[in-house]
Symmetry: C2
Subunit: 218 residues, 2 copies
């Protein structure tokens, strides 16, 4: 962020906190930041764009990270691309917390945030569709949609816990949540030689395990 | 739907098709339907509410179906509650297809549709959270969110294929999609005695199967 851009974002969030989002005008923001109206409108299309000051930059970085994924390594690409969103919120710190307060109380900002998240989800889905199509499994559309929705949902659960002050270790929770989502995803697993066996049987697992171990040692 | 309600919905959709959504006024709708403005505003809060004429009724029926679910049978409740949405669209027929054209071209209606879907998703999530909490597994919040997002996403994939004329058998696809989502869900499976074993091994499944079968017969 350039310095004038930073000053505008800081001024805007300070004013939103002091007097509310709706009561704050662009004129007040530029006055406090010490910049001109034209500087503001070159940097942001409208008042509500200040709330998500790095949205376009983040979207471009997510797209770039996903582009480097392959059908063989796509889980890593999804995990790291989702991690870019979490990184951004954690780096924003207080600004992210202020935005969370605003999006919960101003419907227009809530809609805007949902639209942003759906935009990220669309990126995940389009890349997932290409990877899964190359892997050649069934129901590519369905699985690409489910994968994208699950990755974004898992990210959002962790992010929301951090925003509410419910976790001190968001990265640990993020890793667990992503593993939970990606382990079940279609295609080759990153760890080689994983065999999944589904048995329909009433027998207790512990009773079967010794024989399983023997079978795998053979 | 009462008769005057039906006439207003039909008149509105006919006008939207003929002259576009934005160009159509409530006055034109009530003129064509042969009702008064007050009849319109008693039935619908605003012009955009005509687009989703049975939204509140559907939401109430989803909530009622979910309320009858138990931790033991929750998959059936989720599947049938999602099926209520599909049923409604299929029953609406042409009206649903007209709405699909409108939501793709009018941003305000698109936002409204997203808000509706997120409302259904919230219902699924709240019930899933209660069921999973009672089942006592780990990460109840995460799994409830994932379950709700997956059910709604799977439903939407099938619905969109039907709206686009890409399937003649939406119920068959819906059943497959729901099975795909719900088989992996936490908690007891509807079929008793399913054991899932995950083995980390480079050995081929076929080489292990005879020993597995022997172990289960013991």
């Amino acid at each position: 962020m350039s310095t004038s851009r930073e000053r505008m974002v800081e001024a805007a969030f300070a004013l939103f906190d002091e007097q509310g989002y709706d009561a704050t005008t662009v004129d007040q923001i530029v006055d406090r930041a010490g910049v001109s109206r034209s500087t503001f409108f070159r940097a942001f299309g409208a008042k509500e764009d200040v709330i998500f000051p790095r949205h376009e930059d983040l979207q471009a970085r997510i797209a770039a990270r996903l582009t480097t994924g392959t059908p063989q390594s796509y889980r890593v690409a999804l995990r790291e691309a989702a991690g870019l969103v979490l990184t951004q919120y954690l780096e924003e710190g207080q600004l992210a917390l202020s935005r969370y307060r605003l999006t919960r109380t101003v419907p227009a900002l809530r809609d805007r945030e949902i639209a942003s998240m759906l935009g990220y989800q669309r990126l995940f889905r389009e890349h997932a569709r290409a990877w899964l199509a190359e892997l050649g499994g069934p129901d590519v559309d369905l699985h690409a949609e489910l994968l994208a929705a699950s990755v974004v949902t898992a990210h959002n659960v962790v992010l929301r816990r951090w925003l509410r002050g419910e976790t001190d270790d968001p990265w640990h929770e993020f890793d667990d949540a992503m593993s939970s989502v990606l382990t079940a995803a279609p295609g080759p697993q990153a760890t080689s030689g994983t065999t999944v066996v589904v048995l329909r049987s009433g027998q207790d697992l512990d009773d079967v395990l010794p024989a399983l171990r023997n079978a795998l040692r053979d």
